[in-house]
Symmetry: C2
Subunit: 330 residues, 2 copies
């Protein structure tokens, strides 16, 4: 019987499914990627998850019986203990027991986590936050989510909902947020907020290179397109990005004053799109809104694992949970 030294990590997002195989030293030895195609329905997506896993196994030349455990992460509140995804709006999933499905189809113990939690754990364990003790992971994309590490451990909160940093209020009379409230950080600094502000500028007749780049399907502007306009110095886009960075800095200042971490990792599509220039703008605002003595001891860094953060984090969390459950002799 071969040694079961491998772990499968799966990251299911609104646009793509990623799977990766990790060896016992946490190296990725194979990966695969497919479009999610949410519009085809839950069953079709589930089948495609299994296909992606099989492709990753093939790419890594690892056989299923060499796999010890499976970790999956999804966007939205998850119940890690029961394996139930309570609600993942980007996937159109509600009360889906993904773990039951994975155990049945893949035949290995499986563990569920939230994508931001997984990403934070990955960055803390082997990414840009390595060596930190108290860390805040901040992921900026369509929304803004956060993960919290306290004394080297994942902090999930009493109801496992900790880290909803996109919903700290920066102004009760601010713009409407997706959650229905006003002035949430997410309503100022997410890609959704940037898209809204760029469209508003275009509607006011301000010229921009972005005009033709708005996705006709979902009326969002892709990070890739924003990136190009930002690099080109497009005024509408650079102004909007600057303002979003300013508000993100305010939020980070507030969070740092409360949590006094030694590291903040910035990740997600927006950070990857705008890179260093954006992180510098965030930092400049962050510095103004955090106490000097708090700011001085914080390392604010860009995430290091990119797209891999989710799959790696999901796999690492699965491995830890499996070991903690004492099932490693199985």
């Amino acid at each position: 019987m071969p040694k079961k030294n491998y772990t499968i990590g799966i990251d299911v997002g609104g646009t793509k499914i990623l799977a990766a195989i990790l060896d016992q030293d946490q190296n990725i030895v194979g990966r695969a990627k497919k479009k999610t195609r949410v519009e085809e329905g839950v069953e079709a997506v589930l089948v495609r998850i299994v296909d992606t896993v099989n492709e990753a196994l093939a790419a890594s030349k690892v056989a299923l019986d060499q796999v010890r455990t499976v970790g999956i992460c999804v966007p939205g509140p998850a119940e890690p203990d029961t394996g139930v995804i309570i609600e993942a709006p980007n996937l159109g999933w509600r009360n889906l027991n993904i773990i039951e499905f994975l155990v049945k189809t893949i035949g290995r113990p499986a563990y569920l986590s939230n994508d931001v939690t997984a990403g934070t754990w990955a960055e803390f364990s082997m990414g840009a936050g390595r060596g930190a003790r108290n860390l805040l992971g901040v992921f900026i994309g369509t929304g803004i989510g956060g993960g919290i590490i306290i004394d080297g451990q994942l902090y999930e909160g009493s109801g496992r909902q900790a880290g909803e940093i996109g919903h700290i209020c920066l102004n009760p009379h601010g713009p409407v947020c997706g959650c229905g409230r006003h002035g949430c950080l997410e309503a100022y600094a997410s890609r959704t907020a940037m898209t809204r502000d760029i469209k508003a500028a275009l509607d006011r007749g301000i010229k921009s290179s972005i005009t033709k780049e708005i996705d006709e399907d979902d009326r969002q502007i892709r990070s890739r397109q924003l990136r190009q306009a930002f690099l080109d110095g497009d005024k509408v886009v650079t102004d909007v990005v600057k303002q979003a960075a300013y508000f993100l800095g305010i939020g980070l200042g507030s969070l740092a004053n409360v949590l006094n971490p030694d590291c903040i990792v910035l990740g997600g599509g927006v950070v990857e799109a705008f890179g260093d220039a954006y992180v510098k703008q965030v930092n400049s605002s962050f510095k103004r809104f955090a106490f000097q003595s708090v700011y001085d001891k914080i390392k604010l860094v860009q995430a290091g694992l990119g797209d891999d953060a989710g799959v790696v984090g999901a796999a690492l969390i699965a491995r830890r949970k499996h070991a903690a459950a004492g099932k490693d002799q199985a």
Copy 2:
């Protein structure tokens, strides 16, 4: 040789010094109180601290050689390890090694903590937050401070500055805060903020019972005076308190979304002055700004230990640190 079963707790505030003697079951067996009289200088205050301790010992009929350890808490950032109070503006203290002084004069091992940290630990250990796992202590007075309990342990942050919840930003264009920034929670919801807003209303010629009650020395309005006007239904005061409660609720909503605690304890002079009616107003705003599922699982309660929270917390922390340091055989 008598058993050293007693602990001294000391709470030095801007207006009063409290000392209490705790027995091994954490009962207060004696207490004393003196005015701080900051204006008389550091030396005079230090002498008065020792006098207060001696009075508390006399009141409790406990001899000094029955005392195991001493805990002291102060307002402002403290370095528990070195015993140095970095800065306590209300006391006019800077870089004062209070522990060195206490060990020399009282002759017992002494431990330093921040007053809000001590109050939070006391409320968690034997006050309104008993039984909680993740708790946020919120103390509203001249300023607003917070203490954080994570998984039953005090969370102090990487630089021991965690919990500065008075300085989360609720609007970057909001009123100036004592810290120099704009729109901090403290600039909306502290007694200082209420005083400012009441004075502004009076300056606009709005009639109020509070007119003659402003302290001529420090231009503050005492909590006691605010309380009476609030109970009397004075419109200026009730409006200002309502607005302060609204903003506190916003701040608590943000904090709850990030920390997902199971308990929030509200304490401090403002809470004691306005009681249930105020807590209800805070709760109503809090409910709007926290996620429903987060809100549903949180117990928002008024602190239970009143003025004793500081002395009790300082004593309990001293006892724990002394035990942890393995000095209990001494």
